[in-house]
């Protein structure tokens, strides 16, 4: 460990590189195994001894997933809920975040603390009351309600992040635009939003990943098959223990993760900056 502990570039890197590769194998090995299984035939997937890489690679499992009657609907629901929730969070989060950064008024501190407090209430504690309330007013199985609930989970962080981003923009820029006769909405739209675009991208990326990956909210509040997402469809396969096909399921896993994998690949910098924001002061 001695090479790893010091941080000077003087020590040899070879042991550290070897150990880094070890971590990469631990993390990526299981994922690679799932990927390999998805290209195997159903028979080869359960062969003993298991094959490391398919003898005869096939895309049949992927075709089967795409051919499935409910796939398009599940996929569409996943996209609508995730995009809808993030758009809604930004629509309500940008005005609130801007006001938090730029206005001084009595009660602002209380408002921001209430928003912070809501982020501490775990979704699991609200399953029973929310189910009861939705059932009472007949709003179970509503796509719009699910979208709003998912949105509420990311609104607190959206407001707080945007407030910090806006605060980092010098107020003098706004003042000179005011002098030139621009109103508040023009300033936000033409001046502030373009300036804080990287921040908004980070918030949106994390929001999409969070809502796309949700299982509980959709499974509990919209149990109807027509309203389910890819995540719910995947878990339902696990419950269907008799008909389980591992190669099909791993193909499903890959497809259900593809959007977040692509997003992560494209914007991992924003993703990481979003994760570490506020955690470390440089």
């Amino acid at each position: 460990m001695s090479a790893a502990i010091s941080s000077g570039p003087t020590t040899g890197r070879a042991p550290a590189i070897l150990m880094s590769l070890f971590f990469a194998v631990i993390v990526l090995g299981p994922v690679a195994w799932a990927l390999a299984t998805s290209f195997k035939t159903e028979v080869e997937a359960v062969a003993v001894p298991p094959t490391l890489w398919p003898n005869k690679a096939t895309l049949e499992n992927y075709f089967k997933v795409f051919r499935d009657q409910s796939f398009a609907r599940d996929f569409f629901n996943s996209v609508i809920y995730a995009v809808g929730a993030v758009v809604l969070a930004l629509l309500v989060g940008i005005p609130a975040g801007y006001a938090a950064a730029r206005f001084t008024f009595k009660g602002k501190r209380a408002l921001m603390l209430v928003i912070l407090a809501t982020s501490m209430v775990p979704g699991v504690a609200l399953l029973v009351p929310t189910y009861y309330l939705l059932d009472t007013v007949g709003l179970l199985n509503s796509g719009i309600v699910v979208t709003i609930i998912l949105s509420a989970r990311i609104i607190p962080q959206t407001v707080w992040f945007i407030a910090n981003f806006v605060e980092a923009v010098p107020v003098e820029i706004e003042e000179s635009a005011f002098m030139d006769g621009a109103n508040r909405f023009e300033i936000i739209w033409n001046l502030i939003l373009p300036l804080i675009r990287p921040g908004i991208a980070a918030v949106a990326t994390i929001g999409i990943v969070t809502t796309w990956n949700d299982y509980i909210t959709v499974a509990v509040f919209a149990p109807d098959v027509a309203k389910r997402t890819l995540q719910v469809a995947l878990v339902n396969q696990v419950f269907d223990a008799v008909g389980i096909s591992w190669s099909y399921m791993m193909a499903f896993v890959v497809i259900a993760s593809m959007p977040v994998i692509l997003m992560f690949g494209l914007v991992q910098k924003w993703f990481i900056s979003g994760l570490t924001a506020g955690a470390v002061k440089g």
Binding site: V124, I148, I216, Q268, V280
Partner: protein, 312 residues
């Protein structure tokens, strides 16, 4: 919620927004206009979060049959829950689960951060690859590991057999299910610790290490008195974020064991979920939900205090 990766990260820079900075342009005056800017966000949070939070408290005082309320019963539900051995078992399972996962994730995450920080460009590339599973959903992670651990066809039981260990029932074994779920949780979440620890390490001034070198300190001294001292606050807040996440995590357990075998993986959160969907008697489920809520808010407040100090 399994996916709320950043649930509490938002609190990080509380001090700056709450303070009256010179950047604020309008003089303080009581006006309804600023509230309009907050109204849509507050409305949604009220309907989805605040009102149900109050309502679960009210539910916990009701006598219930399925989802029907049949009258006020005071503390009966609380007495029923707190005097049941099954409840205390879920508390115990939750504690073991959170502590075990946390220990695994922090140790692995710290080790990975230290190692990758010293691996030069290779480390930079691998760091991104290693963070990758963090983006996967709990249903996906659960499905993959269910396959890897499958006693009949999975590769891990196969490797165990090759080395002469009887894999037995794996997740079907009441003594093994919880440890296995802890391993999977640590596997999924240690990259998060790694990223946080790395960010903190990279903010340490190089001069501090040089100073130790001048004083003749070795690598262990550097680690103990420079690295560890500097990243401890970040590690603390990361550990709290993870504790909150683990405590509320249900999907992995739903997929991998369904709370079994014999209740050996039934955590408080899983119990709240099970009570909601089975809907036999929601009064006691409301009490369990409140317990989860209070622990979470408690940890959240500690987190806010801690990060407030870090950034302050």
């Amino acid at each position: 919620m399994s996916a709320s990766h950043t649930q509490t990260v938002v609190a990080g820079s509380e001090a700056s927004v709450l303070a009256d900075t010179p950047a604020t342009r309008n003089p303080a005056h009581l006006s309804w206009a600023p509230f309009l800017w907050f109204a849509p966000a507050i409305l949604i949070l009220f309907l989805v979060t605040l009102y149900p939070t109050v309502f679960v408290g009210w539910l916990s005082f009701q006598k219930t049959r399925y989802y029907d309320l049949t009258g006020f019963v005071g503390l009966t539900n609380y007495v029923e829950v707190f005097s049941s051995p099954a409840f205390w078992n879920t508390v115990y399972v939750s504690l073991v689960y959170v502590a075990g996962s946390l220990a695994g994730a922090v140790v692995l995450g710290m080790a990975a951060a230290l190692v990758l920080n010293n691996a030069g460009p290779t480390g930079t590339v691998l760091r991104v690859l290693i963070l990758f599973p963090w983006t996967l959903s709990m249903s996906v992670v659960g499905s993959i590991w269910l396959w890897l651990l499958n006693p009949s066809f999975g590769p891990i039981p196969y490797l165990m057999q090759l080395t002469g260990i009887d894999p037995g029932l794996m997740l079907g074994d009441p003594g093994l299910a919880l440890p296995l779920i802890i391993v999977v949780t640590a596997w999924w979440s240690f990259p998060y610790v790694m990223v946080m620890a790395t960010a903190a390490m990279q903010s340490i001034p190089k001069e501090l290490y040089e100073a130790v070198e001048i004083d003749g300190g070795g690598p262990l001294v550097k680690f103990r008195y420079v690295t560890l001292t500097h990243i401890l606050p970040t590690l603390g807040s990361t550990a709290l974020t993870l504790s909150i996440m683990y405590l509320t995590l249900m999907t992995l357990i739903i997929v991998m064991t369904g709370g079994g075998p014999l209740g050996s993986t039934t955590t408080l959160s899983f119990e709240a979920f099970r009570g909601t969907v089975q809907a036999v008697n929601i009064g006691p489920t409301a009490v369990v939900s409140i317990v989860v809520l209070l622990i979470n808010v408690g940890l959240g407040v500690v987190y806010t205090r801690l990060t407030g100090r870090v950034t302050g």
